[in-house]
């Protein structure tokens, strides 16, 4: 009973925050509400028993996305005059709203009349011993549905290339993003010295633990990206040059090795098959390189395209 009370309060809060983020007119307020929303959704995932997803949501929704939106907002507001908000009660807005309501009602009806799904839980558990991981989520992500993870890692890379195309020609191959300035020895600089070592350990721990308990490459990679961002924002390191070979190697090593192992799987049976005898260490190897790539890609996505500051 108390559990339902908790769930109800959580749902109401989530709806209120989502509404405020979407309908609020003030951009900064909307961004802060979005960060709050990420934290609440992470709690909701926990209530649904999806701890791996909650880990990812806490790292991305509450951490990285907040940084991304704040950086974007500060640049936009500085450069353009925000336009006057459009009036809400126009004819076409109302018509669109009604059409959306109708579609929602149809989808809800279709969803609610579906038969109870039996899910794949029993199939996964039956084959878990051959999968090479004790955590069923990791087994699904890296073995049973390895296709999806392989394509996702390539998609992340493509997103980064998309961001890099925003660089000006003369700025290309410079350092990513803006150069950060901090008082040396100040609070931010000291914080930037203490946090990253801990974060590094936590990130690696998450990847290592992912085979037996909630964790995994994506969660660990996100934590590593976040501590790298903190180090750079604290002015202790500069963002890498976009042309840096080590950076580019780190970005591609994950998808490349995953792809290579997938092709090698052809000799064991089919594309992207991990033979059960070796699945354990193969999965760990893939996770390790994927973590590196995910960390590098996410951090570079947040820094943005090279700004060419040295040449200004």
């Amino acid at each position: 009973m108390i559990a339902s009370l908790f769930d109800l309060t959580l749902c109401l809060l989530i709806l209120a925050v989502a509404g405020a983020a979407v309908f609020g007119r003030a951009a900064f307020m909307a961004v802060v509400f979005f960060i709050v929303y990420g934290i609440l959704i992470a709690i909701a995932w926990l209530r649904l028993g999806a701890i791996d997803v909650a880990l990812a949501e806490a790292a991305i929704g509450a951490g990285l996305t907040g940084v991304l939106l704040l950086a974007a907002l500060s640049r936009i507001m500085r450069n353009i005059d925000a336009p006057e908000p459009a009036p809400v009660l126009e004819g076409k807005t109302i018509a669109t709203g009604l059409a959306s309501l109708v579609v929602t009602a149809l989808v809800a009806h279709a969803f609610l009349t579906l038969p109870e799904p039996r899910g794949l839980q029993s199939r996964v558990t039956a084959n878990l011993a051959d999968a090479g991981a004790e955590n069923p989520v990791t087994a699904v992500l890296l073995n049973f549905r390895g296709w999806d993870t392989l394509l996702e890692s390539i998609v992340l890379l493509a997103a980064l290339l998309g961001v890099w195309t925003l660089a000006r020609d003369d700025a290309w191959s410079g350092r990513a993003g803006l150069r950060h300035v901090t008082r040396p020895g100040g609070v931010l600089a000291q914080f930037g010295r203490i946090l990253p070592p801990i974060g590094l350990l936590v990130g690696i721990y998450l990847v290592w633990a992912g085979s037996k308990q909630p964790g995994g490459a994506f969660q660990g990679g996100t934590v590593l990206a976040a501590v790298w961002i903190v180090t750079i924002m604290a002015g202790l390191m500069q963002a890498p040059r976009v042309a840096d070979r080590a950076l580019r190697a780190a970005l591609v090593i994950g998808p490349v090795i995953f792809l290579a192992l997938a092709v090698a799987g052809v000799f064991a049976g089919a594309f992207l098959v991990f033979p059960p005898a070796h699945a354990g260490w193969l999965i760990l190897a893939v996770e390790a390189v994927l973590t590196l790539s995910i960390a590098a890609t996410l951090a570079m996505l947040i820094f943005g395209p090279p700004e060419g500051e040295e040449k200004r």
Binding site: F28, M77, V187, L188, L195
Partner: protein, 111 residues
């Protein structure tokens, strides 16, 4: 016995958290709200963590709990200092700086 300890400590933790939020809502200006937030909330978190230490199933989990608390305190301390500086001009009678204040003349398109 340990259950009683947990109940008392976690209840105290919640009370401090509630006090922190009350301060955030009711105090008159930015800096006093920051004060309420940093002190009361982190004390609340500490008490809740303390209450849960006796319930931990193993040393590894206990270590994690202490690490969580230490990180939260570290982050709260650092951000309190930074946010306080950023909000400082308000106490000197000027508008605090904001990302939209491109010309530094105190006029903002802040929303």
């Amino acid at each position: 016995m340990s259950d009683l300890f947990t109940i008392v400590m976690t209840a105290a933790g919640l009370i401090f958290f509630a006090a922190g939020t009350l301060g955030l809502i009711r105090f008159p200006d930015t800096h006093s709200r920051l004060h309420a937030l940093t002190k009361a909330d982190n004390l609340g978190l500490g008490l809740i963590a303390l209450g849960l230490t006796v319930q931990m199933p193993g040393l590894a989990d206990l270590f994690k709990l202490v690490l969580i608390w230490a990180l939260a305190i570290l982050a709260a301390g650092a951000t309190a200092q930074l946010v306080a500086r950023v909000a400082a001009p308000a106490d000197l009678g000027e508008e605090p700086r904001s990302p939209t204040d491109a010309t530094g003349d105190g006029e903002t398109r802040r929303r």
